[in-house]
């Protein structure tokens, strides 16, 4: 993002708010003018949201969705990061594993739903497995690229000071690759949040994804559907924002600055 005139402080808040307000107004009047009986207006959605909050189901669903993402994403990090680091470090192993991974990588986790249900039954574990799959490959690939892009100058400097291979990995390769790994983790978290909604529509009976499908099935409550959609969007934004804060840490910030 590069613009010649820096926007002033008030502009940075006012224009985005104006854009959201315009969209809301557009939505409101579209519902009004089209006379639809199915699709809710913003006002209906707000009432629906209040209803969800009052009956305390919403918090349970949010917590369930976040827990599944936490476990699935956490497992993907714990397995994917070490695996990616090793594959990045030993290109010979990577060459052996890479073709298989390239075939598995572009498969949508959704395609695995039947397989997940065979392995884990209908339930939490199937959903978590799908989230794991969605997050795993971006993490591994980011770690491989991160490590193999570490300039040889850093490796040589590390070896020159007498580091053993494990020390070299921990003290040179990992910190040098960390900015790129963080980008991979952020993408993976975004994917995990996408997958949890889909997984919850099929495999479980709680969570935000279930809330959507349940609201539709039990009485076509589209106000609740749209309310849940908005909540999903908002939480996704918060997760991404939280992760972006990590990129501001001083020990990785060098990797996110534009070349200077």
């Amino acid at each position: 993002m590069n613009s010649l005139s820096e926007p002033s402080r008030w502009e940075r808040f006012v224009w985005p708010i104006a854009a959201s307000a315009t969209l809301l107004a557009l939505w409101h009047y579209s519902v009004l003018w089209s006379g639809t009986k199915v699709f809710p207006s913003p006002y209906d959605v707000e009432k629906g949201m209040a209803e969800l909050l009052k009956h305390h189901v919403l918090w349970g669903d949010i917590v369930d969705s976040l827990r599944r993402v936490g476990v699935g994403f956490g497992a993907a990090v714990m397995i994917g990061v070490p695996l990616g680091l090793v594959l990045g470090w030993y290109p010979a192993i990577n060459q052996v594993v890479n073709p298989t991974m390239q075939i598995l990588r572009p498969i949508s986790p959704i395609a695995w739903i039947p397989v997940a249900i065979i392995f884990f039954g209908v339930g939490d574990r199937a959903a978590i497995f799908l989230i794991f799959l969605g997050a795993f490959f971006p993490i591994v690939v980011a770690c491989i690229n991160g490590v193999s892009n570490v300039p040889s100058v850093f490796r040589r400097a590390g070896r020159n000071f007498g580091l053993t291979p494990p020390q070299l990995l921990a003290r040179v390769l990992l910190p040098a690759a960390l900015p790129q790994i963080l980008i991979g983790l952020r993408i993976a978290l975004g994917i995990a949040w996408l997958v949890v909604v889909a997984a919850e529509m099929i495999a479980v009976d709680s969570g935000l994804g279930f809330l959507i499908i349940d609201s539709r099935n039990s009485g076509k409550r589209y106000d609740l559907v749209v309310a849940a959609i908005l909540i999903i969007g908002f939480i996704g934004l918060v997760l991404d924002f939280g992760f972006r804060r990590l990129e501001k840490l001083r020990s990785v910030r060098w990797g996110f600055r534009s070349e200077s």
């Binding site: 020159n160 000071f161 910190p175 990785v252």
Partner: protein
């Protein structure tokens, strides 16, 4: 003593490094390119040697072999009589640029090689070398917030902190502007006079070589051989407009000219 060495080092000083019939051939795409051809060199303890040659002549390759990062095709390098097989903290390589670790502060970089020392001693050494290279007040600063000259001083400090016998510098000031480069040469000489490390300094800058070195090793274009070794018999600080300085410099200019048939 090899024939290419017209003046032998003073007999009282121990020999630090010797290069014996060193040859390197790079194989790429089925073609083999000779890079270094029968290099012989002896360096005594505490000596300042400049390897001078045109870009791409193989002088960096020679320095990388001395450091133990690369192995020669034939011949060998010995340090203190032992053949060099792998990198070693007793001889530290200083890279042209971007060798400092961007994820560590100035302190963290200087302390990088000191992980085996107890904490108190480590902190003392870090403080000592921060003072030596004039980075006081920047202890907690990250490299991307430093200027090019400061980064290079930081890398020299990181190398010196592990107390090596030898520094191997690969065009360390090549990326700096000419004024900063002059200042850095003075700093390096000051540090060298204080610490008396053996220094091998690769450069393609004739003035730089004549200003710094005890002996300048003039190398030919690829495959590199040692054309001549020129002892610089001017005491420090050197007057770079003195007749002797100009004579030596012009002599090397001529040598390089002859070497490349200009």
């Amino acid at each position: 003593m090899s024939l290419t060495q017209p003046v032998s080092a003073p007999a009282a000083v121990a020999m630090k490094l010797s290069v014996e019939h060193l040859g390197v051939v790079f194989g790429r795409d089925g073609k083999s390119t000779p890079v270094l051809d029968d290099i012989n060199l002896e360096v005594s303890e505490g000596e300042f040697i400049c390897l001078l040659g045109p870009s791409g002549c193989g002088k960096s390759t020679l320095l990388n072999i001395m450091a133990g990062f690369l192995s020669p095709t034939s011949g060998r390098v010995r340090v203190d009589g032992e053949p060099v097989r792998a990198p070693d903290p007793r001889r530290v390589f200083v890279f042209q640029e971007r060798g400092v670790f961007p994820w560590l502060t100035v302190e963290g970089n200087i302390g990088f090689g000191l992980f085996k020392l107890p904490r108190a001693e480590r902190e003392e050494r870090i403080a000592h070398y921060i003072r030596m290279v004039g980075l006081e007040g920047f202890e907690k600063t990250y490299p991307h917030e430093l200027s090019g000259g400061m980064k290079q001083r930081l890398e020299v400090a990181r190398a010196l902190a592990v107390n090596p016998d030898m520094l191997l510098l690969d065009e360390p000031f090549g990326a700096l502007d000419s004024i900063t480069r002059l200042i850095m040469r003075g700093e390096l000489l000051r540090i060298w006079e204080a610490e008396r490390k053996t220094i091998i300094f690769v450069t393609h800058d004739i003035d730089e070589a004549v200003q710094l070195a005890d002996r300048v090793v003039v190398m030919s274009a690829r495959p590199a051989t040692i054309q001549r070794i020129v002892p610089i018999d001017i005491p420090h600080p050197r007057d770079i407009s003195s007749p002797r300085y100009l004579e030596l410099r012009d002599g090397i200019f001529q040598q390089i000219g002859l070497a490349h048939k200009l």
